[in-house]
Symmetry: C2
Subunit: 602 residues, 2 copies
Amino acid sequence: MRRSIATVCVSGTLDDKLAAAAAAGFDGIELFENDLVVSPMAPAEIRKRCADLGLSIDLYQPFRDFEAVPPELLRANLERAERKFDVMAALGVDTVLVCSSVHPAAVDDDDLAAAQLAMLAGRAADRGMRIAYEALAWGRHVSTWDRSWRIVERADHPALGLCLDSFHVLSREVSPAGIAGITPGKIFFLQLADAPHLSMDVLQWSRHHRLFPGQGAFDLPGFVKLVLAAGYDGPLSLEVFNDVFRQSDPARTAVDAMRSLIALEDRIAPHLPPAPALTGHAFTEFDVDGRSGPELRSALRGLGFAHTGQHRTKPVELWEQNSCRIVLNSAVTQPGPAMISAFAVTSEDPARSLDRAEALLAPAHPNVREPGEAELAAITAPDGTSVFVTPPGDEWRSDFLPTGAGAAPTGLLAVDHLGLAQPFDHFDEAGLFYHSVLGLDHLATEEYAAPFGLMRSRAVADPARSVQVALTVALLRRGEWAPAVADPQHVAFTTTDIVATAAALTCPTLPVPDNYYDDLAARFALPDDVLATLRRHGILYDRDPSGGELLHLYTPVFGGRVFFEIVERRHGYTRFGEPNAPVRMAAQRHRRLTSNPSSGTP
Amino acid sequence: MRRSIATVCVSGTLDDKLAAAAAAGFDGIELFENDLVVSPMAPAEIRKRCADLGLSIDLYQPFRDFEAVPPELLRANLERAERKFDVMAALGVDTVLVCSSVHPAAVDDDDLAAAQLAMLAGRAADRGMRIAYEALAWGRHVSTWDRSWRIVERADHPALGLCLDSFHVLSREVSPAGIAGITPGKIFFLQLADAPHLSMDVLQWSRHHRLFPGQGAFDLPGFVKLVLAAGYDGPLSLEVFNDVFRQSDPARTAVDAMRSLIALEDRIAPHLPPAPALTGHAFTEFDVDGRSGPELRSALRGLGFAHTGQHRTKPVELWEQNSCRIVLNSAVTQPGPAMISAFAVTSEDPARSLDRAEALLAPAHPNVREPGEAELAAITAPDGTSVFVTPPGDEWRSDFLPTGAGAAPTGLLAVDHLGLAQPFDHFDEAGLFYHSVLGLDHLATEEYAAPFGLMRSRAVADPARSVQVALTVALLRRGEWAPAVADPQHVAFTTTDIVATAAALTCPTLPVPDNYYDDLAARFALPDDVLATLRRHGILYDRDPSGGELLHLYTPVFGGRVFFEIVERRHGYTRFGEPNAPVRMAAQRHRRLTSNPSSGTP
């Protein structure tokens, strides 16, 4: 199907928006009137620019407050429409979106609405144009798709049809099932937007919180199937009002948008290489420099890791304990804090994983490698992290020459999850990336109050929980009063006996306040000896409603930006200990204060 | 009255919060449990820290989900309470906030709730403590103040009283009038928060959008009077959950909070020097450097200004046309874009204006001046701009030696308003500052979609509209994809004949797209010749619902950050042409693109 995007979805002026839509591969656009009005390009020039960019203009929108009004207002409205038809003629666009009236003078009379819309359609038809009528979810009288359809049926004019917008339909309680029965040819346009379920005024919900398909909670595949069942063959067009997208790089946003449509189409009629099962974390790679490297090495040693392998040709070290593997890469060109530059996951079928990624606009880039090295291709996640996809087994280890060093294990068995703080503009993009490209599922989104502002967290994982990535973001972009480590990253390792592991560690762990344990005692009926053990080792505790338990501990921040976590999951606990994240943040802040009392930012 | 602040109102860990509250002059705090739990300070240590800082701990909060539960849950809840009483004893705090239950096991039974709360109060009394019961606006069964009061009355225990929170009371439809009739001594605690009127889920409204008194739409003076009428003599305590305050500098936020309380008390029982009437803009001062200075001079000349005065001792120039006065200050120490560093308003009684400012934590700082110069004292607005307050008349001009130059007037008569983009963290603080310190009124807040993100705008003005400042802010803090001139500032001048003025100008004005006029023609029934005139001169147009009209035009950005506007107000138009702001932004962006096509950011 053809793919379109409304210019309102992305930031910038019309030049920016058209360039972004074309670069992301869209076939067409919906031209949002405000973008035209503020543009110095004449309509004919916009037409030419779009043609040059390979974009059709599929819809002009919106035309507001037209129908069911007294005669003198109708006259003015028809005059207003003629002016817009002039603009549309110059643009070469034949369909205009007329959304249901919110005007105080509009009356509650479907016959009148139908008659006046038929009159408008007649005027449009005279100019080779047509009217797509849409029920706004907050329309004064017409606010549901079925009522807009009754009016269009009643008007019975060939130049009058429906515009269906998934948000307006799915945000209301009226079932969309009947859409499949709409007369073929009468759905003139289809607009798609996802959204989280929110309990708020529907207009504000629509204006600020729409998302691209797959980023929210609506059943868009089901909705589109109903529309297709009614014979719709126009474009799938995105119309997403979103506070973040309105102010982030339009080129990035447009690619995110396109990925959402490709993934949606694949859910409706699978055509992409299916996402192979991911079976585990192969390794996690940190970039380190002369300052952060020694800190990380010392921390790993204290965690019971050994430096087991040395890369044949590069200053890259492999550190291991059981199935936990950390790669320290000192071949960085710029000094800076340590960071997770890459992680590798094992895939049942790496080639297919990469084919799927490419089809979803995340093409693999080959790792720079020397002759004889294992071939590893990576895709780039929205935060810039490279994601390597490797076959099961240890082929990638062949690049490392064994050092012969052995670990002094502390019981760390495997990677439980990675924690990656996301750049503010790309949180929803990241969720969609991991879901569509790698086939990971979104887990529940959590919000919590942290010492330096509200946080949002959303994890992605495969069904078997072999690969888990916890994504976090601040609810507001950080300003000057931001924590010194505003975007920390971490690796969490599993153990089956966290107390034994804690006792065996020789690296520093994060001190947990006594107040925390006093509160724990009040909240949960934990036996005194358990509580004493937790307290002694600085182990945090969480319990879910089904009785699942998490015991976990943190290290301080090493190398400027990274830390480690050790988790023991009991009785099927599946979350990530979010309620304890503020405790960690405060403790990391306190540690910084006490080690450097004069530091400015928290 | 004593003034308190809940630790949840400001950002940081407990150390940060206590330091900020003390520095801003608060007498006490409400200790929010989460802040205690994540603190490494033991309760006794917190008690000592507070005492050292001169802060009492007036309330411990919250204790949730206590009342109206089955027996075994009651037992567990009482046990939980005893643990909290232990903590309170160590802290030396005697009152705990118990908020109405949201627990699924809570039953709808006021007698049971009263009996269990009486039992809890008995336990508290045994330890010299007391219970302040509060109806959460979203409580499962108890969600209004009158119901919470019925339960407290029924329980009839001396250690059980009410906590009233202005948000929970005023966000509901139940009238607060009856509060004045509550038995004296039974309101144990008073929490204050303002909020804008929002149509959304009340819990989300409360968690994210509370404001300090005077920053929102609630009638807090009226509310507090009712509480005082019931004999309340405890502290006025702020409890404000706000996404911005949670992540901005706590020291700043605490001062903003304190100012809000001082101003609120003054509205209840006036005690501050009343704000004298402001009668006009005396001058507006720009900092310029070797690069921006010539650009500004050339622009002013083109606007019909003349360089009429030269400062006796400093590289400071006075430019004038009628009552429009611009001061260009080249004595800047750091080069950078031009900016409005100061503006002067005339006051009926400057000394009283300054006394009031000082009482509201905005102390005047004397201008650095040489012997014989006019004395001018300035207060600092939240965005760093100096606000001079001068007597009527031209005393301040005595520092300038006349140059003898005469203007070639273009009809600019006076300053209509200043436009000051505000730093993200300080928008609400700025509104309160201008309102409380200078006595300006808030006009309506407007939100609009602009090319680089959503914008919020709120103007402040005196009743006679002699002094007007339009404050704007982006709804999200700007990121990398931000307009090159992200925080522009401007001065708008009035004319009574904008067409004649436009024809007389010799500086560049901002080109307005033809599309804008085509749309104007569709939106308003403007005569063709009027439209042609507007189009010819690049004059924008707005009309308000009462028929007031604004005709205005903009200049491009000069000196990197500032521009000018010329406005003609007709038939009582009182707004600031906000619907046309996106046209200006797009045109300024376009101008930048065409003059420097390779520039990175918009």
